[in-house]
Assembly symmetry: C2
Homo-oligomer: 198 residues x 2
DNA sequence: CAAAATATGGAGATAATCTCCATATGTCAA
DNA sequence: TTGACATATGGAGATTATCTCCATATTTTG
């Protein structure tokens, strides 16, 4: 696998300009009203340059998303190092909702763009997934959380929260999902009639 | 509000041909490799006709989705009338996962198409939402389910399951989400230290 | 069975995406 | 420095997809 050579200085600059502009436009929710060519002008870059750096809208989204996710993952690690596992997990999940709420436009845009070839999302969110897996595993080790449900399920729930932008009661419902997930994760009192898993 | 006049016989026929073809192509996952114009040819219909019936790809998806949802909602009502509330809810949610699993391609395509102007989805899934709300409300009345989390949260979780197609462990994770939601919904023993809601 | 109403197909206008390359900018070795 | 080589740039124009329009066809109605 060939290590990608470092970009030339000007290329680096243009790339960053594109990402910065993307962030702004995403957040303002204006991305879909904009011709991709016009987006290039807006970032002060020629069409060709835009396409060389990001061959599609999705590629652009992926790059933005990757950064976003890196920030979240970093937060997760910080929490893991300072709180008891169960609490770290809870705080983190609540924090993700806060984060999304604070960047509605961005979240909407990313969710929309990633919807198709969402392998991109899967790829870009690896770091987030790892962070969540990590937090869950720690909580399981502590005995605070059941061990028969995969961390992937938590990711899926988060995905739902991110993708269901535009529900009028988004915030309330998102908090509700987190509550259900956290309560659902709590270690069941071992064997007591009522089984729930299939 | 003007009641929409009945379609002329041939119009009705064409419309159905379009929907039938859409279903097939969606399910095969080929929809995005197809020019919209070519889709028309495939359905044996002129471009103009296609556009008159469904002005956008999304409008087409919405129509398909609406039918899909109607079937699910009907199933929900059947369950509600034959099982205890809590069981009806559980069976229904598991059933939704089964249904999606059995129509992967369709689910993927719909999720993708609805991602943008997803008001369409919100509209089309009203029936599903009502059904879920109904099942949850009944279970709450029975005292089997907590009353402090909105049924909308359950919808959101379902949305996540539908939108997160293409996760390699989809099935397992989807079942996991349902398990978490169901266990999370179970009525908490009232007041006993550990509070979970925010 | 006309006449009115409604619907059809597909050629062509419109609009967005993407490619290509002459020119500019950066890098590096001597 | 500087010159030679490698890399990157912008934007005009080719390519492709979307959508409109209307002369013609089909259905309905009186």
């Amino acid at each position: 696998m060939p290590v990608d050579k470092p970009l030339r200085a000007d290329a680096q600059r243009k790339r960053e300009a594109l990402l910065a502009t993307a962030r702004e436009v995403f957040d303002a929710g204006d991305f879909f009203d904009l011709r991709f060519d016009d987006f290039a002008r807006l970032a002060g870059v020629g069409t060709g340059t835009l396409y060389r750096h990001f061959p599609t809208r999705e590629a652009l989204a992926e790059a933005v998303y990757r950064d976003e996710v890196a920030a979240l993952a970093a937060h997760a690690h910080r929490l893991r190092d300072t709180l008891p596992a169960a609490e770290a997990l809870a705080t983190f999940l609540r924090g993700v909702v806060d984060h999304i709420a604070a960047h509605q436009g961005l979240a909407r845009t990313l969710a929309t763009l990633m919807a198709d070839r969402s392998g991109a999302l899967a790829e870009g969110s690896r770091a987030l997934e790892d962070a969540v897996t990590d937090l869950v595993a720690a909580a399981v080790r502590d005995g605070a959380v059941r061990d028969d449900v995969d961390a992937g399920a938590v990711m899926m729930a988060l995905h739902g929260i991110g993708a269901a932008h535009d529900r009028p009661e988004w915030r309330t419902e998102a908090d509700g999902v987190i509550t259900l997930v956290l309560d659902g994760l709590r270690r069941r009192r071992p064997a007591r009639g009522q089984e729930s898993a299939r």
